[in-house]
C-alpha cells in the first residue's frame, strides 16, 4: 500500500434534501484505486442516499462527482454502469429462472446480432473468473445456487461490465459466517487486481477486518474518514458512529423459568411461496425466559411464527399454549389468550397505515372491553388507552388521531410494541422486532422485552442478528431450512458453533 495512491472517485460537497430532512449535508468522499473503503453509519445516517446519488438513482441538489478525474453527472443506473460504477444490492437483481450466463449478459447490447452471443460471452466470463479466482457454474440456473454463489454472480456481472468501482450494500447481511470468509477472499483478490470497493456495512468487526479506510456518516454528514490501522477498535468506531460512548450491554437479571407456556411437539408446516416450511420442530418455552431463534433470513422464521399464531396450517404435530391444544385454531382464538405477536413485516402485517394510531392500538380486540363490545366500540376508552400507551412507549406522535403512515419506522414499531406487549402477556412472539431501528430504538425494544420476561412472560425472539440473539436470549435455537438444528443455553453459546449450525452443519 506504500505506492502512490491514485484517486478514482471523488464526491465533493454533496447535498441532498428531502421535504424537510437533509439526507446528505455537504458530504465528501474520496475513494482510491484498489482500496476497500467502508461506509459506516447509523440508521438514517445518509449512506444509502449517498450511494443512490453515485449510482444515478437519485439526483443531488448540490455538489460534484468526479470519476477518474472527470466530472460526471449520472441520471440512471444505466449511465453509472456505462461509466464503470457497479452496485450490488442487498437484494440481488437476478432472474431466478435464468442461467448464470443469461443473467450476466442480460440487458447488454453487444454487436448487432439477432442471436445472443452466448458462446463469446461464456468465454469472456470464464476468463474473468479465472483472473479473479472466482469459480461459478456458468450454465447453472440461478435459483439452484446458494446465496453466496448468487452474490458471486452479481460480482461477475459487475466485472463483466468493466466496473472499476463496486458498491456493495450490506454484502454480508445474507451470508453465513463461512460464506463471509469466502467473500472476503474474493474482495481481497479484487483489490489486488486494482478494483475499488465501497463496502457498506454496520458490522464493525467485518469493517475492521476487510477495509483499508473507513468513512463514517452521522445525521447526513461525513463525520470522518480514517485509515484502518491495527490499533483501531470496534468501540472507537461505534463511538464515532453514534457520536457518544455507547453502552454495549443491556442489564439482564438472571433467568428463572417457570411453567411451560408454549410447547411445540413434532410440528410440521408446508412450504409456501419462498418459505421453506417447518420440519419436525419441537421445543418448550417457559415463563420468564427468552428463547432466541437464530438463522439466516428465509430459513423458516416466518413459517414458525405464523404456524404458532394460526396463520399457517399445521400439517402434523401439536402446539399447546398454557396447556391448551391450539393446533390449527383460528388466529382470533389464539389472539384471545394474552399473546403478543410482532410480525416480521410491520408495515403490512402489523399496522394499518391509513388508520389512526388509536384504531391501530385497538385492532386486536375491538369487540372486547375496554375497547368495546360486540356491537359498539368505546371510543372514549380507545382514545384514553391509546394516549397512555403512546406515552408509556415514548412514541413521537402529535396525538393518537395521527395516521400511522405519518410516523417514522422506529415509532411505528413502538406502536406495534405498545399494542402487542402493552398489556399483560403470557407469551410474546417477536420476529425481527428491531429491523430498521436505530440503536436507541433497539435498546427500547430490548428493555421492553426484558421487562416482560421479568414480569413472567415467555418470549420467542426470532432474529437474524446474532448479536441480538446473544445479548437477549436465555436459550438459543438455530433454524436452518425449517429445521431446528439445536437448542442450548445461552451461556454455552459459541459464535463459531452457531455459525456452523446456521449453515446447516450439525456439530
Amino acid at each position: 500500500m506504500g505506492k502512490q495512491k491514485e484517486i478514482l472517485l471523488e464526491m465533493r460537497n454533496i447535498t441532498k434534501r428531502f421535504a424537510n430532512v437533509t439526507a446528505n449535508d455537504d458530504v465528501s468522499l474520496t475513494v482510491y484505486k484498489g482500496e476497500i473503503h467502508a461506509l459506516l453509519g447509523e440508521n438514517g445516517a445518509g449512506k444509502s442516499t449517498l450511494m443512490n446519488i453515485l449510482y444515478g438513482l437519485m439526483k443531488r441538489d448540490a455538489g460534484r462527482v468526479l470519476f477518474k478525474g472527470r466530472e460526471i453527472s449520472l441520471h440512471s443506473p444505466a449511465q453509472a454502469i456505462e461509466a464503470g460504477i457497479g452496485m450490488i444490492h442487498q437484494h440481488f437483481q437476478l432472474v431466478d429462472k435464468f442461467t448464470v450466463l443469461e443473467n450476466i449478459i442480460l440487458g447488454l447490447r453487444e454487436g448487432r446480432h439477432i442471436e445472443l452471443p452466448l458462446e463469446r460471452a461464456e468465454k469472456k466470463i470464464a476468463a474473468l473468473c479465472e483472473s479473479y479466482g472466482l469459480d461459478i457454474k456458468i450454465r447453472a440456473l440461478v435459483e439452484n445456487l446458494p446465496v453466496g454463489e448468487q452474490q458471486k454472480v452479481e460480482i461477475v456481472k459487475a466485472l463483466y461490465r468493466d466496473s472499476e468501482i463496486l458498491i456493495m450494500d450490506e454484502p454480508t447481511a445474507v451470508l453465513t459466517p463461512q460464506e463471509v470468509r469466502k467473500l472476503f477472499v474474493t474482495l481481497n483478490r479484487l483489490r489486488e487486481e486494482g478494483k475499488s470497493i465501497i463496502f457498506i456495512s454496520h458490522k464493525l468487526p467485518e469493517v475492521l477486518e476487510i477495509s483499508d479506510r473507513i468513512s463514517i456518516m452521522r445525521d447526513g454528514r461525513m463525520v470522518d474518514t480514517i485509515d484502518n490501522t491495527p490499533d483501531l477498535n470496534s468501540r472507537q468506531l461505534a463511538t464515532h458512529m453514534v457520536g457518544r460512548e455507547i453502552k454495549l450491554q443491556v442489564e439482564k437479571k438472571p433467568c428463572c423459568p417457570g411453567e411451560v407456556v408454549l410447547s411445540l411437539d413434532h410440528t410440521f408446516a408446508d412450504a409456501a411461496g419462498e418459505s421453506c416450511g417447518i420440519k419436525d420442530i419441537s421445543f418448550e418455552l417457559r415463563r420468564g425466559e427468552i428463547l432466541g431463534i437464530a438463522g439466516v433470513d428465509g430459513n423458516g422464521q416466518e413459517d414458525l411464527s405464523e404456524m404458532i399464531m394460526g396463520l399457517r396450517k399445521l400439517t402434523k404435530g401439536k402446539i399447546c399454549i398454557l396447556g391448551e391444544d391450539v393446533s390449527n385454531s383460528s388466529t382470533k382464538k389464539i389472539r384471545g389468550m394474552s399473546i403478543g405477536y410482532i410480525p416480521a413485516d410491520r408495515l403490512h402485517a402489523a399496522l394499518v397505515l391509513d388508520f389512526t394510531l388509536k384504531l391501530n392500538l385497538a385492532l386486536n380486540h375491538p369487540d372486547k372491553p375496554p375497547y368495546g363490545n360486540r356491537f359498539l366500540m368505546n371510543f372514549k376508552n380507545i382514545s384514553r388507552i391509546a394516549k397512555e400507551k403512546l406515552k408509556q412507549f415514548n412514541v413521537a406522535a402529535p396525538d393518537c388521531a395521527e395516521l400511522a403512515r405519518n410516523l417514522s419506522g422506529g415509532n411505528q414499531q413502538k406502536v406495534v410494541l405498545a399494542r402487542e406487549v402493552g398489556e399483560k402477556t403470557d407469551l410474546i412472539i417477536a420476529v425481527y422486532p428491531t429491523r430498521g431501528l436505530d440503536i436507541d430504538a433497539t435498546r427500547f425494544v430490548f428493555d421492553t422485552l426484558l421487562k416482560e420476561r421479568d414480569g413472567g412472560a415467555a418470549i420467542l425472539y426470532i432474529s437474524t442478528e446474532l448479536e441480538e440473539i446473544l445479548t437477549l436470549s436465555d436459550r438459543i435455537g438455530v433454524l436452518y431450512e425449517g429445521v431446528l438444528m439445536d437448542v442450548f443455553p445461552a451461556e454455552n453459546a459459541e459464535v463459531e458453533k452457531i455459525g456452523l449450525l446456521m449453515a446447516g452443519e450439525r456439530v
Partner: protein, 372 residues
C-alpha cells in the same frame, strides 16, 4: 424553518384536495360536460339552469329527485361497505333488478298478504334476492379464485335480462299487452306517497335510515373496523385475528342485499309494478354515488341526492325542452367518468405514498446499524 412550513402547507393543501377529490372531480366533470353542451350549439348556462330547474324547480321535481335518490342511497351505502372491505362489487345493476324481481315475486305469488306483513316481506325478499345474486360472484371467487369484479359486471346483464324474461314470460300481465310488465301490485304492497310533496314516497326515509345505519356500522362497530381493516391491509387483518375471507363474504352479501333492497323500494315505491328495464342505470349510478361519496355512507347522502337531482333534471329536460337524450347521457357519463378518474388518482396518490414509505423502510433496513 421557512421551507419546512412550506412543505407542511403544501401537504395540507394536498390533504384537503384528496379529501374533497370526489367533489372536485364532479365539478371538473360538469365543466367538461359544459364544453360538450356548447359543441351541440346549446348554451351551457341555459343547459345547467334548465337542469337545476328540472331537478328542483317545483314540488313535483323535488319529489321526483327524492324518489330517484332513495334507491341510489340504499345501493350506494351497500357499495360503500363492499368497497371499504376491498370487495369489488360492481354488480349493483343486476342485484337491483333481482331485488325488483323479489318484490314482484312476493306481491304476485301471495297477493292476499296484508300490507303490514307484505311490505316487510318484500324488503326481506328483495334483500335476499340481491344477496343471492351477489353470492354467485362470491362462490366463483372462493371456489375458483375468479375476480368478483368480472363476475358481478357480467351478472348485470344476466340480472336485467332475467327480469326481461320474467316480465315477458311467467310474470307478464294478462291485461296490458303494450309493454312487457307485470300486473299492478296490490295497493297494500305499495309505499305511501304524498301528492302534496310531489308524489314523494316513503322510500326516502328507508334510504336515509339505511345510510345512517351503514355509516354507523362502518365507523362505530368492531365489525365495521374489521371490514375497513381488511380493505386497507388484508395482512394486518389476518395477524390481528380477523378472517379476511369471511369478511369479504359478509361485505359482498350486505352490498348485494342492499342493492336488492334498493330495487324492491324502487318497484313498490314508484313503478308500482315490475316492468322491463324498470330502474335502468340506477345500479350503475349508485356506483358513482358511492365513489362521489368517498365510499363513506355519511357522505353518500349528499352524493345520492346530487345524483337523484341529476337524474330528475335530465328526465325533465328530455321531456320538456327536447334536449337529445344522447347529449344528456353524454354529460352524465362525463361526470361519472370524471368522478371515477378522480377516485383512481386518489388511489394512486395513496398507493404511491405506501410505496414511498415501503422504500423508506427498505432503506432503513439497509441502514440498520445496531451492532454491539
Amino acid at each position: 424553518m421557512r421551507g419546512m412550513g412550506n412543505g407542511i402547507g403544501r401537504k395540507r393543501i394536498l390533504d384537503v384536495a384528496i379529501n374533497f377529490s370526489p367533489v372536485i372531480s364532479a365539478f371538473i366533470g360538469i365543466l367538461i360536460g359544459a364544453c360538450f353542451v356548447a359543441l351541440w350549439g346549446v348554451s351551457p348556462i341555459m343547459f345547467f339552469a334548465e337542469l337545476v330547474k328540472g331537478a328542483l324547480g317545483d314540488r313535483l321535481a323535488v319529489g321526483s329527485t327524492l324518489n330517484n335518490a332513495a334507491p341510489l342511497l340504499i345501493a350506494g351505502s351497500g357499495t360503500a361497505i363492499a368497497f371499504r372491505a376491498g370487495a369489488n362489487n360492481i354488480g349493483q345493476e343486476g342485484q337491483l333488478f333481482l331485488g325488483g324481481l323479489g318484490a314482484a315475486t312476493v306481491s304476485l305469488l301471495i297477493p292476499n298478504l296484508p300490507g303490514v306483513i307484505g311490505i316487510p316481506a318484500i324488503f326481506l325478499v328483495s334483500f335476499i334476492f340481491g344477496m343471492a345474486f351477489a353470492s354467485i360472484a362470491v362462490l366463483f371467487r372462493l371456489l375458483k379464485g375468479v375476480n368478483e369484479l368480472l363476475v358481478t359486471l357480467l351478472l348485470n346483464y344476466v340480472g336485467t335480462l332475467l327480469v326481461a324474461a320474467m316480465v315477458n314470460g311467467p310474470f307478464r300481465s294478462a291485461t296490458n299487452v303494450s309493454y312487457p310488465q307485470t300486473d299492478a301490485f296490490g295497493e297494500q304492497f305499495l309505499l305511501t306517497n304524498w301528492p302534496q310533496f310531489g308524489y314523494m314516497h316513503s322510500g326516502i326515509f328507508i334510504a336515509v335510515a339505511v345510510v345512517l345505519v351503514s355509516g354507523y356500522f362502518l365507523w362505530f362497530t368492531p365489525m365495521g373496523l374489521r371490514i375497513r381493516n381488511v380493505g386497507l391491509s388484508p395482512e394486518a387483518s389476518r395477524t390481528t385475528g380477523s378472517n379476511p375471507t369471511a369478511i369479504f363474504v359478509v361485505a359482498m352479501l350486505i352490498s348485494g342485499g342492499l342493492s336488492g333492497l334498493a330495487g324492491g323500494v324502487e318497484v313498490i315505491g314508484r313503478s308500482e309494478l315490475l316492468r322491463q328495464g324498470f330502474g335502468a342505470s340506477l345500479g350503475f349510478d349508485s356506483l358513482a354515488v358511492a365513489l362521489l361519496g368517498d365510499i363513506n355512507p355519511f357522505a353518500v347522502l349528499p352524493a345520492g341526492l346530487f345524483f337523484g337531482a341529476l337524474r330528475t333534471g335530465m328526465q325533465t329536460m328530455q321531456r320538456s325542452i327536447g334536449i337529445p337524450s344522447a347529449l344528456l347521457d353524454l354529460v352524465k357519463g362525463v361526470i361519472m367518468i370524471s368522478i371515477m378518474v378522480g377516485g383512481a388518482i386518489k388511489l394512486y396518490v395513496r398507493l404511491s405514498g405506501v410505496k414511498k414509505q415501503k422504500r423508506q423502510v427498505e432503506d432503513d433496513n439497509v441502514e440498520t446499524s445496531k451492532e454491539q
